[in-house]
């Protein structure tokens, strides 16, 4: 299962049949298909534009913007919190995660919530992660910061 986090928007794709349902059971989160990828239920309705002052996904937009949903998230400085199932201002995410280098990969316990701080205090804006079903662990091939 491959997961791309783009400015707090999550795109998933199965590498083997059944990974999505495994992931859904593991995290207790509903997933939906959208534009050729899988994402969290709420993000299935993420808009491709925002109007300043108008709510989208329960969050009041701070900018008028049009683009990909993840660009709309970035413009409005908001991320999806899959632990709570709500949108949050990225500045309010204060979780600290440990990301360590392991060979040519990065490893962290569990799935990183966008906006989390790494051990060096850098705010994580995105990543590419792989869920390994056999070991129920996560490998990260790319991590980007705000």
């Amino acid at each position: 299962m491959k997961i791309q986090c783009l400015h707090g928007f999550y795109k998933m794709s199965e590498q083997n049949v059944g990974q999505a349902s495994d992931f859904s059971r593991l995290y207790g989160l509903d997933l939906v298909a959208r534009d050729g990828y899988i994402t969290f239920d709420l993000l299935g309705g993420a808009p491709d534009h925002s109007l300043i002052g108008r709510e989208f996904l329960g969050f009041k937009a701070i900018k008028t913007f049009a683009g990909s949903p993840w660009d709309v998230f970035k413009a409005n400085e908001v991320v999806y919190d899959f632990n709570e199932g709500v949108m949050k201002a990225i500045s309010t995410v204060t979780e600290i995660v440990v990301v360590v280098q392991s060979g040519n990969r990065l490893v962290s316990k569990g799935l990183i919530a966008a906006g989390s701080l790494d051990q060096d205090g850098r705010k994580i804006s995105g990543y590419t992660a792989w869920y390994l079903r056999n070991t129920a662990s996560w490998l990260y091939t790319e991590v980007t910061y705000v």
Binding site: L51, I52, G53, R54, K63, T64, A66, A75
Partner: protein, 115 residues
């Protein structure tokens, strides 16, 4: 990726989409009168566009009307040249009146053929 949304602008220059005010929209017109148009949003740029055809139509109507009034006045003067003893009659202006009337006709034709 850009989005085009139906919008309107009130007489104070405020832009609305479905009655929601878009405070960061940029107007390409003066916005001194209420209008309907579209809001083009491309990235962080939001531009309100309205059709100025009605403004142009009104301008042409008023200009053609003014030319008609001028031509009529000159025709009247031409018909009744002022000329008492010791003063010369006013010069004939029928040629100029024809030119003005031609311009008026052209403007009225243009009004009906606005793109």
């Amino acid at each position: 990726m850009s989005r085009i949304l139906e919008a309107r602008c009130d007489a104070s220059g405020k832009v609305f989409v479905n009655d929601h005010e878009v405070t960061d929209a940029v107007l390409t017109t003066d916005g001194a009168q209420a209008s309907t148009g579209i809001l083009v949003v491309d990235g962080a740029l939001a531009v309100y566009l309205t059709s100025s055809v009605s403004d142009l139509t009104t301008t042409i109507e008023k200009t053609a009307s003014a030319l008609g009034q001028i031509a009529a006045a000159l025709t009247t003067l031409d018909a009744k040249p002022v000329g008492g003893s010791g003063s010369a009659p006013a010069p004939a202006v029928s040629g100029q009146v024809t030119n003005i009337q031609t311009a008026q006709t052209e403007l009225e034709s243009l009004k009906g053929a606005l793109k």
